[in-house]
Symmetry: C6
Subunit: 77 residues, 6 copies
Amino acid sequence: MAGTWLPTLLTDTPQDGYALAVKLARVAVKMTQADPTIREDLRTVYEKDAGALIAVSSVVATHFQTVAAANNYWRDR
Amino acid sequence: MAGTWLPTLLTDTPQDGYALAVKLARVAVKMTQADPTIREDLRTVYEKDAGALIAVSSVVATHFQTVAAANNYWRDR
Amino acid sequence: MAGTWLPTLLTDTPQDGYALAVKLARVAVKMTQADPTIREDLRTVYEKDAGALIAVSSVVATHFQTVAAANNYWRDR
Amino acid sequence: MAGTWLPTLLTDTPQDGYALAVKLARVAVKMTQADPTIREDLRTVYEKDAGALIAVSSVVATHFQTVAAANNYWRDR
Amino acid sequence: MAGTWLPTLLTDTPQDGYALAVKLARVAVKMTQADPTIREDLRTVYEKDAGALIAVSSVVATHFQTVAAANNYWRDR
Amino acid sequence: MAGTWLPTLLTDTPQDGYALAVKLARVAVKMTQADPTIREDLRTVYEKDAGALIAVSSVVATHFQTVAAANNYWRDR
């Protein structure tokens, strides 16, 4: 993860915030398994595993909480 | 997930907020497994798996926290 | 889940709030598995599975956080 | 769970708050599996299962967050 | 867990707060499995189980949230 | 974990905060399994296990919530 990949938690819309949460969930996986070939192999497995997909969704939910709070829930838009 | 699917976290009622939380839980699955046929196959499995159903409920609970906070818990209604 | 089942997050007592959290945990399961017969079958399995019971308790805990915050922790009672 | 078992989230000390969190984690199990004999059987299993013990600890942690917030983290004691 | 083991959530440093979070995660296990011999047996298993170690880390993370909030994130130090 | 490894939760950027969250997730594992050889063995297993990688990501997400809140979500940068 060289370079700047997370300059801010602020986004224009809730939907952009959700996309950021998905990104935040993926980065930790990349940092733990740096080899893109292995990650691709794992992906072919877990994208057909309901439990894994729900677990990914859970991580996204936690990050979305953070991003939503950072943006004051986009209340003032 | 083309187009706008999450314009706001604000809802009229707690019940609408809960429905939004369910939606938020499902979108991460769609973004990870884009193929609707595979998702449908997975669904026939996990909808009969108590552990998976409870895990889905857990993701909904996390998102409902976010939506409820965004709406100031609908206290002022 | 036709009709209004969640008019408010406010409850008179912490104990009522806990009961609401239990309800919130169950509704997501109902929304994912709409068939009551299948749910009843699953119940006979998971109510004898320690892991599943603890997982249910975890979902209740997350919802109770939300309900407790909504009620300002019933501090002013 | 007849009668009042949760009159308040307020406790005198953090330690009492932790004990309340343990209780809150257990009640959801009781509400899902009402039969004390079956619960006792399950207990003999999960109390020797590291994964189950860690999962119980996780539920306690979530409830302790709630109780600690309710008590303003016992800062003013 | 006789005697006072949790007099306060306040710590001098974030690092001390993290140590307290580790302690809070362990106490729930002790309260559920009171026999130190069985706990020692379980430990020899789970300390070589990646999934269990990650699960322990998850419980610590939840408690650290609580302790950090209690200490106002040690911002004023 | 001798010496000071967590002097503060404050970081200059969200990205630095994320790196700190990854560190916080790893420390609990180190504290539970102190032997670096065993940890290395475990790593070769879990870094090829999608479920374990997602679980690590979940722990990072919880710690990132804490670090982000500590930094007031880096809103004032």
